[in-house]
């Protein structure tokens, strides 16, 4: 391996009320991929934010390329060659790709911005990554996966020698992940040191050279990836052994609860037919842009349907908006918890009560404090939401607990069908298992559970039945226990045979 390019010793960082980092050690060599592992809240993000100058450290020493830094600003970090790709993509949605890439270090000729040059450069780096993005496109119009590529292109364009990736694959499809790994390999060969944070441990085998494991703000261990077994890594992360990665509950398949017939809604939801039964979990697999999220949104009534019928317990129901769906007992836990699932400035109590105010308030509309508290207490107890009390801001909970609050909102009103969209995105191993337990719990209650997931092992491990989508259509259905990754992928990529449309603009 190469020379040591980053060395952080005895790093301590306190935020009001919490010690985020306590005497942490971290190092990085040139030309290696260092996986930084730990559960949510272990302090990984805080550590890399110190390395990239977002936070300043309270105590300890930070040495980059042999030089000690007491305080580092984002600009300084960039100048020495540290680039960070944040977990929650940080882009100005109203600006173009090129404007985002050169934000804060715009090229000028005299006083005037040199857009032509920046665009040319941006195009060069995007081409280098092999992604088809026009630098003049507005970022907000692009899907998350492409935004990720822009962040990487940005890192390339500043000649980063230390590249930090915080959960880079959480929004990518398998093919995109493969591309990303190739890029990582190339950067590595060029002598780049890469800090790689991910909850998808199965990825590590493809790229990680060494691992650093953290837990509760402390450094636990560090070593060559090859020297660890996966179980050891997990045990070090969570401080206990996790028996089952995908806990399975067997219960008899009940009656048909929910049925969707000939649903059409735009280009990504075409002639969708499927049924859900009580006591089973159905996973929806597919690539990014296969129309899975769109399907759930159309069912839930967020997006308008063009045609199609929906049946609940054999009776046809009309869903024209989320309220219709909720009243009928069909509920959705959306993909982006913070954006669509929770009111993050409100307390847990207020969040759980929100869709149930008709029950709590009754006809008068005056909120019955006791009913509300009872309902919320019950929900918190049943789902084992870890919180000191009901008045805590939903934003302060961990990802797993937030997801539980989202579900708690719906369980309080005896929902019949629960649809999850990417329920475990950005959630750590321990919490993932809890989410699976939660889904199993719902299943045992006789609720029809459906979930959309881009993580294939998860779909295969958790679902009793797998529906695969491609390009807005259902392309196949597989049994949970019997499906193989290859089979799913084959179905997920069985695009309709279309004449190649050449020369048309994209």
């Amino acid at each position: 391996m190469g020379e040591k390019i980053v060395s952080m010793e005895h790093i301590t960082k306190e935020f009001p009320g919490v010690k985020a980092l306590d005497d942490v050690h971290f190092e990085l060599e040139a030309g290696e991929v260092m996986a930084l592992l730990g559960e949510n809240g272990a302090g990984k993000s805080t550590l890399v934010k110190i390395l990239s100058g977002v936070y300043t450290l309270d105590h300890g020493s930070l040495n980059i390329f042999g030089k000690d830094y007491k305080s580092l600003t984002p600009n300084m970090a960039r100048e020495v060659g540290v680039a960070i790709i944040h977990q929650e993509l940080n882009m100005c949605r109203d600006l173009t790709v090129c404007q985002n890439m050169y934000l804060g270090r715009e090229m000028k000729s005299g006083f005037v911005l040199n857009n032509a040059k920046m665009e040319k450069e941006a195009r060069k780096y995007l081409d280098e990554l092999g992604v088809d993005i026009d630098p003049r496109q507005v970022v907000g119009d692009l899907p998350v996966s492409k935004q990720q590529m822009i962040e990487i292109a940005k890192a390339l364009s500043i000649n980063a020698k230390i590249l930090i990736m915080d959960e880079p694959t959480s929004a990518l499809t398998s093919r995109e992940i493969e591309e990303l790994f190739q890029i990582i390999h190339r950067l590595k060969n060029q002598g780049c040191g890469i800090v790689y944070i991910s909850h998808r441990l199965e990825e590590l085998a493809h790229i990680a050279d060494r691992v650093t494991i953290m837990r509760d703000g402390r450094f636990i261990t560090q070593g060559n990836y090859a020297d660890f077994t996966m179980d050891e890594i997990i045990a070090n992360m969570v401080g206990r052994e996790i028996k089952e990665k995908f806990p399975k509950v067997v219960c008899p398949r009940g009656e048909k609860v929910f049925e969707v017939k000939n649903l059409n809604a735009g280009r990504l939801v075409r002639d969708i037919n499927f049924s859900l039964y009580a006591g089973e979990i159905v996973g929806i697999a597919g690539l990014m842009g296969a129309g899975r999220t769109e399907t759930t949104r159309a069912i839930f009534g967020v997006d308008p349907k063009q045609s199609g019928k929906i049946f609940l317990d054999g009776k046809e129901i009309t869903i024209n908006g989320p309220m219709d769906a909720i009243r009928a007992g069909v509920v959705l836990a959306p993909e982006d918890r913070k954006k669509d699932g929770l009111c993050t400035k409100l307390s847990i109590r207020q969040n759980i009560a929100l869709p149930n105010l008709d029950v709590i308030g009754g006809k008068s509309g005056i909120i019955n404090k006791k009913t509300e508290n009872d309902m919320c207490d019950k929900a918190v107890r049943e789902l084992a939401i870890k919180t000191p009390n009901l008045e805590v801001d939903a934003a302060t909970l961990s990802g797993g607990n937030q997801q539980k609050v989202v579900v708690a909102k719906w369980l309080a009103r005896n929902s019949r069908v629960v649809i999850f969209d990417e329920p475990t995105r950005g959630i750590d191993v321990g919490a993932k298992v809890e989410i699976y337990h939660l889904m199993n719990q719902l299943k045992q209650r006789g609720i029809a559970v459906m979930f959309v997931s881009s993580e294939m092992p998860e779909v295969m491990g958790v679902a009793d039945r797998i529906i695969v989508m491609c390009d807005g259509r259902i392309t196949g259905e597989l049994k949970g226990g019997e499906a193989t990754q290859e089979e799913i992928l084959r179905l997920a990529t069985s695009f309709e045979n279309k004449m190649a449309r050449e020369g048309e603009e994209v």
Partner: protein, 337 residues
Amino acid sequence: MKKKGAFGRLLAIKGAGSVLTAFIGLIVIYVAFGIMNPKVFSIMNIQNLLRSMSKYLLIGIGQSFVMITGNIDLSIGSVVGMSAMTSATLMTRGVNPFLAILLTILCGLIVGVVNGFLVGKFKLPPFIATLGTMFVARGIGYIVNGNRNTDNIASGIGKEAGDAFQNFFYYGKFAGIFNTFWIALVVFLVFFFLLAKTRTGRHIYAIGSNVDAARLSGVDVILTTTKAYLVSAFCSVVVGLILAAQAGMGNMDAGNTYEMYGVAAGVIGGVSPLGGSGILLGTFAGAGVWQILENGLNMVHAQVGIQRIVIGVIVVMAVLLDVVMRTNDKKGFKKKS
């Protein structure tokens, strides 16, 4: 995509659609009023139109800068008043007009700096921070001349200098058009350039779009916010000077509620009050729409009450149209992708 002409490229800029709509609206409204009363088309009316529009344009530029950063400036009207009073008071005391103008600009810019720091550094909600400076600036405007309007400025600096001041900012003409418009045009061009072509401009859009991303990219949020408020303050000062020149004296209540005219001009022209998007060309159109409405309604002898109602409806309609178009855009995008 590469084959698009200059016009197509222009339309591809975010918010260009709203600007086009505003310009079309401007022409439609103007022609409609012209049909009702042909005097609307007269040279004299056009001259007056351009002069009166200049105030809204200047205010609109300032407010647009602040709105694009995702903030708002409620102190604009008060800075206008304060500037009218300060400059007039100084001149009635015999201070050289140039020096008076300079001092007035300085005072106005101080308000801009205070706004920028309260909002950028101390992170006060801009509505509250500038509400505070709004009262303070108005108060200062009252105090400078002992709680009364000033005398005629000629009483201090003499008739010749007084006339020169008034002509420069208001009554004089150049190439057949009132100086006021030329002043506004120069200011417009300078700030158009600043916003569209410079790093500062880019940063102003960035912090309005996503302040965290901007900060993490190394954008100086405090400085950029302050710059936007400085532009706003500067434009307000210029309007204050124009009002002082128009009246030949300082009026304590000059510029009252002008900040809202600025919001209206910007919003009609497609500047998003949520920040991140909008171009000054839109503000130009917005100020035009506003002034043509006012002028046209006057020319067809509509009551003041009716004028207010029409203007209010237009502002809401402009934003409504924008919102509806955006929703359609999104749907269109989904279908295409």
